[in-house]
Symmetry: C2
Subunit: 360 residues, 2 copies
């Protein structure tokens, strides 16, 4: 049996939800699930968390009730719990049980708005990485001048060697192919200059490997920070330290400009009138850069789909995170990664270590 066959998911439509993760849980989890259900009627959910809180919220949505199940637990991973502690002491937490459901074949994917570090540590421990993938990475979509770009890693790996970066490039490219339908994705390595000699050893060696190996896309070379939002490439590859800082710098700048714009439009009566006249167009702009639209950071490289929603999102944002998980499963993203890694590293006969019967 090949790695790919082994990855076939028994229940592709079932998504495990950590109902207790995030600032406004469980309300936005149930409301978000209801929204997602309205968009994709074949979807099913298992909610993990406090039944006494979940059941009354679910009762508002008869259709959602019909496709949902609650698994009761009162344990919750707090937002400030250290990953190592969450791993040791959170064995009965809503987050852990939801991840277990994926490992056990009860669900195709897990979505949580909880503690990012704990989610990554637990998902990595329970689901394990795909054969050929040394380290999972966190990826997200970002709006650009040309459409959308996927960027990874965003914080799972503070330090990365060249091979890690190459694997991130492969995973990002396969995401573009399978989920975004871009057959020849452009890949760029984030650096502080575009010349070949720039940057530290890891990025220079990674660039050399990406130039030489057959990859599922086209390697453009080094890109710089401003290329992220310019849409110069489809896949921005970087280590988790720089990636996290770049992502948050982008968010911060968008916030700053929104703040300045608000000042502009409240600075005089005539400016207020100007805003009112442009409001429709502004709403379209707002929806285009709406953080909720880009909610749902993907943990790539695991034997199971795991999506992290922003902790402070609302139902709309959480529904989008569910949509991301649903798309990754439906498009067979992990199967494609496994195929690619087998091709890259000659591991066609490597069988995934997870048990076939789905036992933990």
């Amino acid at each position: 049996m090949t790695a790919v066959e082994n990855l076939k998911i028994a229940k592709p439509n079932v998504i495990a939800l950590d109902a207790m993760g995030g600032d406004n849980a469980p309300v936005i989890v149930i409301d978000g699930a209801a929204l997602a259900r309205a968009r994709t009627p074949d979807i099913q959910f298992i909610f993990f968390g406090d039944e006494a809180q979940i059941a009354p919220l679910l009762a508002h949505y008869p259709q959602l009730c019909g496709c949902s199940e609650i698994r009761h637990t009162t344990e919750v991973i707090s937002s400030d719990m250290k990953p190592s502690l969450a791993l040791r002491q959170g064995r009965k937490s809503s987050m852990r049980l939801a991840i277990n459901a994926v490992a056990e074949g009860e669900a195709s994917s897990i979505v949580s708005a909880g503690n990012t570090g704990a989610l990554m540590a637990t998902a990595k421990f329970v689901l394990r990485t795909l054969p050929g993938v040394d380290r999972p990475a966190i990826a997200t979509m970002l709006p650009t001048k040309k459409g959308e770009t996927v960027m990874l890693d965003l914080g799972a790996n503070i330090e990365c060697d060249a091979e890690n970066l190459v694997q991130f490039a492969l995973m990002g490219a396969i995401f573009c192919r399978t989920v975004l339908g871009r057959s020849e994705p452009l890949i760029g390595l984030l650096n502080i200059g575009t010349e070949e000699l720039k940057g530290h050893d890891e990025v220079r060696i990674a660039a050399q490997i990406l130039r030489e190996r057959p990859i599922p896309g086209r390697f453009l070379g080094f890109i710089e920070g401003n290329d992220i939002t310019a849409g110069t490439v489809d896949v921005v590859v970087t280590d988790g330290f720089s990636g996290n800082i770049a992502l948050k710098a982008i968010e911060g700048t968008a916030n700053l400009i929104a703040y300045f714009l608000k000042q502009v439009f409240t600075s005089s009566l005539i400016a207020r009138v100007g805003y009112l006249l442009s409001r429709g167009a502004f709403q379209r702009l707002k929806s285009r850069v709406d953080p909720r639209r880009y909610n749902g950071a993907m943990f790539l490289g695991l034997q199971g789909v795991c999506v992290k929603s922003h902790g402070g999102t609302d139902a709309e944002g959480f529904a989008n995170a569910i949509g991301v998980a649903y798309d990754l499963v439906r498009r067979g993203f992990n199967e494609r990664i496994a195929e690619e890694m087998a091709a890259q590293y000659g591991m066609a006969d490597l069988v995934i270590t997870k048990q076939e019967d789905g036992a933990p």
Copy 2:
């Protein structure tokens, strides 16, 4: 003689200009100098470059002519020349001669819009670092919700150890004190989370040192990418790799939003009218985030003031870069750094290795 006494500048008002550096040299250099001269009448310039090009441009500004001198050379460091090559082969270049003028005591500072890597390598080689400073850093001012923040390093040092980061923090804080007049600057270390255990060794050790040592400001701890433009701190400290990426990500995001805004305001006739009504307020916003206003990256930690203008700037931007150099000299920034380093490292009697007579 102490380090500080040794740093006294013979000709504080004289600024050496690399007239040939940048995309639009020498035009914007001379036009920019004329603007700077109008703002600060006691300023004097030495222009290094092709006299045949510089002299006719200078002739347009009688007042500028009166306070300027041309030093002829036809050699220029190209924008794509490697720093090592610029150092070896550019000994008679406009950039090198301008830096030499500072080392030789003919000028207090040097401003160039040329090749950043070559400028840093040459300035470091010719001027040397201040006693106690292991590595110079590139710093810039950025607009924030609360005003302005200084960030460093922006690319001089791809990899930094904890002590380098600590020194950047000290230099940034002293910049805030001497140039911005903030007596108790808040310092933040850029990281991917604010918890003590986050990040790699270098930032964690640097944080520990900054918590324990007496510093010219207050160490707030770790900050994240979004804190840069939020204005959470006065000084953002990071390594040159992350700093460069963050800075360019910020610039790229501002560009993206400007692009989207243009689309908004040209999307319909009514939106155009809206823009016209808000135009005055928009102009004020534009001037607030105008990159020309923040032009002039400072090379901190050298025995001489060196400012890098953006290569693509105009006369207004170049004049601002000259203003940055003028302020650093006038406020005695380097003297304060030398004092602080002596206090930090117990080197009160350490004499700067540069010759007193200013010979090269």
